[in-house]
């Protein structure tokens, strides 16, 4: 091996090639089977326009840095958050928002847990609901309007990638969200979360 290396370390081209070769094996073995696996069984629904707009806001505010959307198949986790996550639930998630840190609770099955009014208050003034909460307040969501044009572009993009929004749905989306606040969109998204999985126990 050292002999081989003596050769490689004297030829820059070989060294580059060697690194490329050696470092790509693991990735190929792991990613290709996942990429070309048959799609998972799924009863997930496409995001309705307003919820899709909300999802983009969830990304804009990086809620996923404090909230996971991934319930592990552990007893305590299922008791706390609901049925464990399954691959089929995420087929419309671009990007995925599973998160890697729970500064706040998991939100994958938050839909239906609280009323819209609760969310509106909590998002704008979290400490009015949970006095010790360290979640930031998002008062500006209530003041800003949803961007219908960006939403339509996003729906068209999602369609090209396999989510079957019809022309009519896309055309009507701008009207459907006209005048809605970002807060409406965020609440719609949160209430939609958890569809396609078992409801909370």
């Amino acid at each position: 091996m050292i002999g081989l290396h003596k050769l490689v370390e004297r030829r820059a081209g070989l060294l580059i090639f060697g690194i490329l070769l050696v470092s790509s094996i693991g990735g190929l073995v792991q990613i290709l089977p996942v990429l070309f696996a048959p799609p998972p069984q799924s009863s997930a629904e496409r995001y309705p326009p307003l919820a899709l707009a909300g999802r983009a806001l969830y990304i804009r505010e990086s809620c996923a840095l404090c909230h996971s959307q991934q319930i592990r198949p552990l007893l305590a986790e299922v008791r706390r958050y609901g049925a464990a996550s399954r691959p089929g639930e995420f087929i419309y998630d671009r990007p995925f928002l599973w998160g890697s840190k729970r500064t706040g609770p998991d939100l994958q099955r938050i839909g239906g847990k609280y009323s819209d009014a609760w969310h509106r208050l909590h998002l704008t003034r979290p400490r009015a609901v949970v006095p010790s909460s360290i979640m930031p307040a998002y008062p500006w969501l209530a003041e800003r309007r949803v961007d219908g044009i960006a939403l339509q572009a996003r729906m068209r993009g999602m369609r090209r990638l396999g989510a079957e929004y019809t022309d009519q749905e896309i055309a009507e989306a701008a009207n459907a969200v006209a005048g809605k606040s970002e807060l409406d969109a965020m609440v719609a998204y949160l209430q939609f979360l958890g569809r396609g999985g078992a409801p909370r126990q």
Partner: protein, 493 residues
């Protein structure tokens, strides 16, 4: 005259990169301290959208990793590749393009992240126009680097260059594959992968960004600057060869350990766990190699602040690469995943390893480039004390918080119901967040002290012109000739 034919090193470019790196360190760590403070006093965001935790944390990670780490890596790569090849930098004009481009790109990326324009994948938050710019700049960096190696005057390629080389090649591959996306507007794109597939690709990227950026790149730094500063060769050549190839091969497999018990195939998780455990070997082999290189010269640590920082980085590297494989064991990960334990692990690596080895290198480089001694050795020693106290406080606080969270979240009472509500547990970790804030603030104070110290060292100094040794057979140590000013001679044709 011999000097007329001497090959000059381009160090102006190194100087600006390290200056930028210090700037990003200050900015990024301040953002980190501020984010830590918001987790104690949520009102500190003043209800300003751009200052809320989500955006600020993204700014923090990008500024420290790509601004501070990236600038330091590119700058030190340019410095060491010239010395180890006895050759001046290839295409120095292009190197300046890389510098200006990288800094403008980073500033733009900060503005966009503050504005909430964000691709939503950790450590790959830049949107597609910046992704493309970064790819082009990275290739230019590759050209300068490998171009210099291609014209080297010493036959073997020195080991630090393999690590920098691996950094360049693998990060290019990761960056391109992970960011493949369909743009829907200039500020938004949809990844080509969805759901579970996106998760697997993202953590293949995420883990190896850590592996080849925060580990491989900084190992390149270590392999050049540690022996240099000590004035003795690396302990075992054979060990470094083996560790290098094992490192490059094994790291790539470990990504799915970020997705234990998540909705991805089981075989991927198990494979990643096994490979993560194996990764412990090359990691510690490298650490042992470093420690043995110092062994017998410990007395040098007393008077040399640069060496102190580089050397203390080794045990922290050992700690992070011991803790990492442990966290990758599924039964440990059940507790640690989603908790502050991960954050503690991150910063034992980021502060204890990346930041310390960089600080040591900066303390080495500034006097070298300015041609005068460090302004204040005492300030550097205070920095050392602040830094070590800060990082220890930070990671111990996070261990406490993380292990508590992990165990309490999973705790069931006799009836099989969860015993503590989420909010109760959140309240219980509050004191640890205060401790982390103090640790982080101490660390930041040390960094600020260093910035001042290096500024005073460099102030008004003209960058010393160094030349490659006249004979390729000469030792790697560059010979100092008459200092000249800012003479950026074109590379010898």
């Amino acid at each position: 005259m011999a000097r007329a034919r001497a090959i000059p090193y381009h160090d102006q470019i190194v100087a600006v990169f390290i200056a930028a790196s210090i700037g990003w360190a200050l900015f990024g760590m301040l953002a980190g301290v501020w984010a830590a403070a918001e987790l104690v006093f949520p009102a500190l965001n003043f209800d300003l959208p751009w200052l809320t935790f989500g955006r600020l944390r993204t700014v923090h990670t990008n500024a420290v990793i790509f601004g501070f780490g990236g600038s330091a890596l590119i700058g030190t790569a340019f410095y060491s590749v010239q010395r180890t090849c006895h050759q001046s930098l290839f295409a120095p004009g292009l190197a300046w393009v890389v510098f200006v481009g990288w800094q403008i790109g980073m500033c733009l990326s900060m503005l966009l992240l503050f504005a909430g324009i964000n691709a939503g994948k950790e450590y790959a938050e830049m949107e597609w126009p910046l992704d493309i710019a970064v790819a082009v700049l990275w290739l230019s960096f590759a050209l300068c680097f490998f171009g210099t190696i291609g014209r080297r005057r010493i036959a073997p390629i020195y080991i630090s260059n393999w690590f920098y080389g691996a950094l360049i090649i693998v990060v290019a591959m990761l960056h391109v594959v992970n960011n493949l996306a369909l743009p829907v507007s200039w500020r938004e794109s949809l990844p080509l992968y969805a759901g579970s597939v996106d998760a697997v690709v993202q953590w293949w990227y995420g883990h190896n960004a850590v592996g080849f950026f925060l580990t491989g790149g900084f190992l390149g730094m270590l392999y050049y600057f540690l022996p240099k500063q000590l004035g003795r060769p690396i302990w075992s050549y054979r060990l470094s060869v083996i560790a290098f190839w094992a490192f490059v091969y094994t790291y790539i497999w470990a990504g799915p350990h970020h997705l234990h018990f998540n909705a991805i195939p089981d075989w991927l998780q198990t494979l990643a766990m096994v490979m993560s455990l194996l990764l412990w070997l090359p990691s510690w082999a490298t650490m042992v190699n470093g420690v043995m290189t110092i062994s017998g010269a410990w007395h040098k640590l007393r008077e040399d602040p640069a060496l102190k920082f580089i050397v203390i980085a080794l045990p922290f590297y050992g700690l992070a690469t011991f803790e990492g494989p442990m966290l990758a064991i599924k039964s440990v990960n059940v507790v640690s995943h989603f908790t502050d334990w991960t954050v503690g692990h991150v910063h034992s690596g980021a502060l204890g390893w990346n930041a310390f080895v960089t600080f040591g290198t900066l303390y080495f480089l500034a006097p070298k480039l300015a041609g005068r001694p460090l302004f204040s050795a005492r300030a550097a020693n205070i920095h050392f004390a602040l830094g070590v106290t800060g990082v220890l406080l930070y990671i111990m606080a996070m261990w406490g918080a993380g292990i508590m969270q992990g165990l309490l979240w999973l705790n069931l009472d006799e009836a099989g119901e969860v015993r503590y509500s989420f909010v109760e547990i959140m309240e219980a970790v509050a004191p640890y967040y205060v401790a982390r804030l103090i640790g982080g603030a101490l660390f930041f104070a040390g960094t600020a002290l260093m910035a001042w110290n290096l500024y005073m060292t460099m102030r008004g100094a003209r960058i010393v012109q160094w030349y490659a040794p006249a004979h390729a057979e000469a030792s790697a140590a560059a010979r100092k000739t008459k200092p000249r000013t800012r003479a950026r001679k074109p590379a010898a044709a």
